[in-house]
């Protein structure tokens, strides 16, 4: 959760001159080679791929009834047709992990993509505009950043009943400022580079400069922020559910599955607690590993003189 974990992109924010990237390395080629050979990054990607398959292809192979509640089958231990047992509604847990995972992953990806795109555009435009417009736009961003994400989440969750779509919108709204700051910092530092000045002299419009030069050079920031955003949003939803303010039943995601089983941590129904916990941790871990590895690659490249 962003209010309690210092999110990794912050160090880049503290140093406005984000990495030293020259125009010669096109963003898309940035470290692709390094990325493919980085064990941590590839490990993380492999896990993510497995998870995606598990959640989206899994239910096609392992069919369970995720809709009908049958209290007579509630809380059955693993065995007899239910490899991971059943939960308090009598629904197969393995199946619920898959289907619940769809919500969690959809949430993560949607928020990551949306917030990165919005934040990047906002930040780039603000950086390119400069002057008063930039100052004004950034004050709006600062305002959104002034209140910890989780606090804002709690406020809105207490007022509205949430469903997946509203949470995606909400988390996007709360995540794009972080991207925006980073991209703007990058854009500002790039503005003063010779190749941009050369472009201006040659008569390119600002928009052209933006898209042809800035964007490729900020690509690494997108990727890094996006991967962290996936992890953070999955995390935020599970925390919200734990506090009782998440989407109400019949919504299922790993966090809500955990919430019920949480008091059973000590005994009784361990199969209701540990599977969603492990999957949640592994997912968040995988995304963060990828992000971390990308961060390392980016900063390693930046310190190559």
């Amino acid at each position: 959760m962003q209010s309690e974990h210092a999110t990794a992109p912050e160090p880049l924010a503290a140093l406005p001159e984000g990495g030293e990237v020259t125009s010669r390395t096109g963003g898309r080629n940035l470290g692709l080679h390094d990325f493919l050979h980085n064990k941590r990054a590839m490990g993380g990607c492999a896990v993510v791929l497995l998870l995606v398959l598990f959640c989206f292809v899994g239910p096609l192979i392992y069919r369970t009834n995720q809709i009908t509640v049958n209290l007579n089958n509630a809380n059955l231990p693993p065995g007899g047709g239910h490899p991971l047992g059943t939960d308090e509604y009598g629904i197969d847990i393995l199946g619920r992990l898959m289907v619940g995972g769809q919500s969690s992953l959809e949430l993560g990806f949607a928020v990551a993509i949306a917030s990165t795109v919005i934040g990047a555009l906002y930040g780039a435009i603000s950086g390119m505009l400069g002057g008063i417009a930039d100052a004004f736009l950034m004050r709006i961003v600062d305002t959104l950043l002034a209140v910890p994400t989780f606090i804002l989440l709690l406020i809105v969750a207490s007022m509205f009943t949430l469903n997946l779509t509203t949470i995606i919108l909400l988390l996007t709204l709360l995540s794009w400022p972080y991207v925006c700051r980073l991209v703007r910092a990058q854009v500002l530092s790039l503005r003063s580079r010779e190749f941009v000045q050369a472009s201006t002299v040659m008569g390119s419009t600002r928009m052209r400069i933006l898209f042809r030069h800035m964007v490729p050079n900020t690509f690494n920031i997108f990727i890094v922020t996006a991967t962290f955003a996936v992890a953070d949003s999955i995390y935020a939803l599970s925390a919200l559910s734990f506090l009782g303010l998440g989407p109400p039943p019949p919504f299922a995601d790993w966090g809500t599955m955990l919430t019920y089983g949480v008091n059973d941590l000590f005994d009784s129904y361990p199969w209701e607690v540990y599977p969603p916990l492990i999957v949640l941790v592994v997912t968040v871990l995988a995304f963060r590993q990828i992000g971390d590895a990308l961060n390392d690659i980016a900063s390693a490249r930046s310190s190559i003189r």
């Binding site: 049958n70 509630a74 308090e88 009782g244 039943p249 949480v262």
Partner: protein, 612 residues
């Protein structure tokens, strides 16, 4: 994760019960004392009680109509007990030892009540007199619309005159005759005595006078006391609240909800506290409470939410004993008879019957409530016992789980039944074998159930409800909301007034249960102008039967009402959960728990030393 016990107080009208005034005198059962703890009693000691998901915020015993916080009763009952003390030995009878009257007589065709007050004193030494009763009556006479405990048509508007022949006698002339059991159990059991000699003022520095005797004065006193009563910072220090007539005094109150009682040394009653302190410590939800119980240290008495029942063996190993108590009330799914389209469907009795046939209450009791719930066969829970449970209810009620019957009913009224799908009306019209008034051809039989989130047992119950209803092709969509949101969208509807603007949005609601007093009557809930009749149910026959229970004195009138209500389904009956408690095994006197007074009577608790 929340206990909903306290949510309940919101909904109820005061049901009434009269009863047992006469029986009580003869039946003076010991309160508490049923716990089989062996050993020597120890004087003193501190008991810490867990307070979950809520805490008191008002100390004035006559709560304003806008304060539905059930925790306030926990705070004030130990300080200012009711005139007729509800519950004795866990039974729904008046407790003679803790009541403030020594004798209660109904005369003149049950139109006159003569109350003989016990010669008790307030904690400052001033005797409790009949003036204190008229003080309460006067305050309520001019402010009843602002009183949470007011039930349409009852006290104080049903009183024509109050007279006090002497310092210990009160004579109340009623405007009509009432069933004595009903009146004692449900009306007199909701009124405390208040110290006129200390509280009859209009400002903190003002002097005490007879302000309550005029309308303006009564309003001024009421407003003053209400304002003082909601000032949490001064609960423990305000001199007003130090004048009590109950066994306890408030020693400390923090804004977090933490508070402590100490014995009232001048308590006149027989059950003088043995403990030296009782502490209530707040928990926002039960996770922290369960953790604390599991580590066996600081909590002595606590409730256990039903979805944590399986932790009980571990708690027993920590030195706790377990007790359960049924909660007096009826749990329900509330239909909105004035919802735009759904209301027309819900008005058809056969549709409600089909829906009730499709609720598998036994399974819900066993699985969602771990067996700790009343079966929910009708308006009266079985705990009330012999005189209130009609044979019909005892036998399982008129609508035992039977999907086949539900389907047959729907088919007989012209519906095309699609089990697992959604039924549609095949034969619209008003005839006996057609769908009914206002129902169009092809209309789907579908409803949205709005429920209060936060209690896992209810989530399971509602999911099961959705599941079993679909066996008859009735499609239920579940929509959960925090309780406060649910309240703000429910609107102020009843059978008499149902403005579209506020009664429109919801179709079915489930949020907990409606609390009953000692007499589980339907007044306040099912009669047309009842302020607790949120769904807008209205039936002249029902009104007549309820009146018969309020005004007559025959007990068969009660069964007539009960069976009629069970059959007519003004609400869809659901099992009502019981409360499960744990308490330290060396603490005696805790059981049997009294469900009518917030469950705890610490004045009869004591620690024991194990017998050597």
């Amino acid at each position: 994760m929340h206990t909903t016990r306290k949510l309940v107080v919101m909904a109820a009208g005061l049901a009434l019960t009269t009863l047992v005034a006469a029986c009580a005198a003869g039946n003076a059962g010991k309160i508490g004392g049923g716990s089989a703890v062996k050993g020597q009693a120890i004087k003193g000691g501190t008991v810490t009680v867990a307070e979950v998901a809520g805490s008191p915020n008002d100390i004035f015993p006559l709560l304003p109509s806008t304060n539905s916080n059930g925790f306030n009763g926990d705070l004030t009952l130990g300080l200012w007990p009711w005139l007729a003390y509800s519950g004795d030995g866990g039974k729904s009878i008046v407790n003679p030892q803790e009541s403030l009257f020594s004798k209660l007589t109904y005369s003149d065709n049950d139109k006159v009540i003569t109350i003989a007050l016990k010669p008790w004193n307030w904690s400052d030494g001033v005797p409790i007199t009949s003036r204190d009763f008229t003080f309460v009556y006067n305050l309520l006479k001019w402010n009843y619309n602002d009183w949470f405990g007011y039930v349409q048509g009852l006290f104080p508007v049903d009183v024509s005159k109050v007279s006090t022949p002497n310092a210990h006698t009160v004579v109340i002339d009623l405007t009509r005759s009432y069933n004595p059991t009903f009146y004692t159990d449900n009306v007199l059991a909701e009124i405390p005595l208040l110290p006129q000699h200390a509280w009859d003022k209009t400002s903190a520095s003002g002097k005490v006078s007879n302000y309550d005797e005029t309308q303006a004065g009564a309003k001024a006193v009421w407003n003053f006391l209400q304002a003082q009563g909601s000032d949490m910072a001064t609960f423990a220090t305000n001199p007003l609240w130090k004048v009590v007539d109950g066994p306890w005094k408030l020693a400390q109150f923090l804004s977090s909800g933490y508070y402590a009682w100490v014995p009232n040394k001048n308590y006149s009653g027989p059950d003088k506290p043995v403990l030296s302190k009782v502490i209530w410590t707040p928990f926002t939800d039960d996770t922290a409470e369960m953790d604390t119980l599991r580590s066996g240290t600081s909590l002595d008495v606590a409730s256990v939410p039903l979805n944590d029942i399986r932790q009980i063996p571990a708690l027993k190993a920590e030195g706790y004993s377990v007790a359960q108590v049924p909660l007096p009330g009826v749990a329900e799914i509330l239909p909105n008879f004035y919802a735009p389209v759904a209301g027309l469907l819900l008005r058809q009795l056969y549709i409600r019957q089909a829906m009730e046939y499709l609720i598998n209450r036994e399974q819900i009791v066993k699985k969602a409530f771990a067996g700790y719930a009343d079966p929910g066969n009708g308006p009266v829970p079985v705990q009330y016992g012999q005189q209130w449970d009609s044979p019909l209810e005892k036998a399982g009620g008129p609508y035992k789980y039977n999907p086949a019957k539900a389907i047959a009913l729907l088919k007989a009224h012209g519906w095309k039944v699609v089990p697992g799908g959604t039924d549609t009306c095949a034969k619209p019209g008003k005839a006996a074998d057609e769908c009914g008034t206002g129902i169009t051809a092809g209309e789907p039989l579908t409803f949205t159930l709005l429920f209060a989130t936060g209690t896992e047992s209810y989530n399971e119950q509602n999911a099961a409800f959705q599941s079993t209803e679909s066996l008859g092709g009735i499609h239920i969509a579940l929509k959960g909301e925090p309780f406060n949101t649910l309240v703000s969208t429910t609107g102020t509807c009843n059978g008499q007034s149902h403005p579209a603007a506020t009664c429109d949005d919801w179709q079915l609601e489930q949020y907990g249960y409606n609390e009953y007093l000692m007499d589980p009557s339907g007044a306040g809930q099912f009669n047309t102008d009842a302020n607790g009749n949120y769904g807008g149910y209205s039936s002249p026959e029902m009104n007549k039967l309820i009146d018969a229970t309020e005004y007559g004195s025959s007990n068969s009138a009660f069964f007539a009402y009960e069976d009629y209500a069970a059959e007519q389904l003004p609400l869809l009956w659901l099992p009502n959960e019981s409360d499960v408690f744990v308490y330290k095994s060396n603490l005696a006197g805790v059981t049997p728990l009294n469900p009518f007074t917030g469950l705890y009577n610490p004045e009869v608790w004591y620690y024991t030393k194990p017998a050597s």
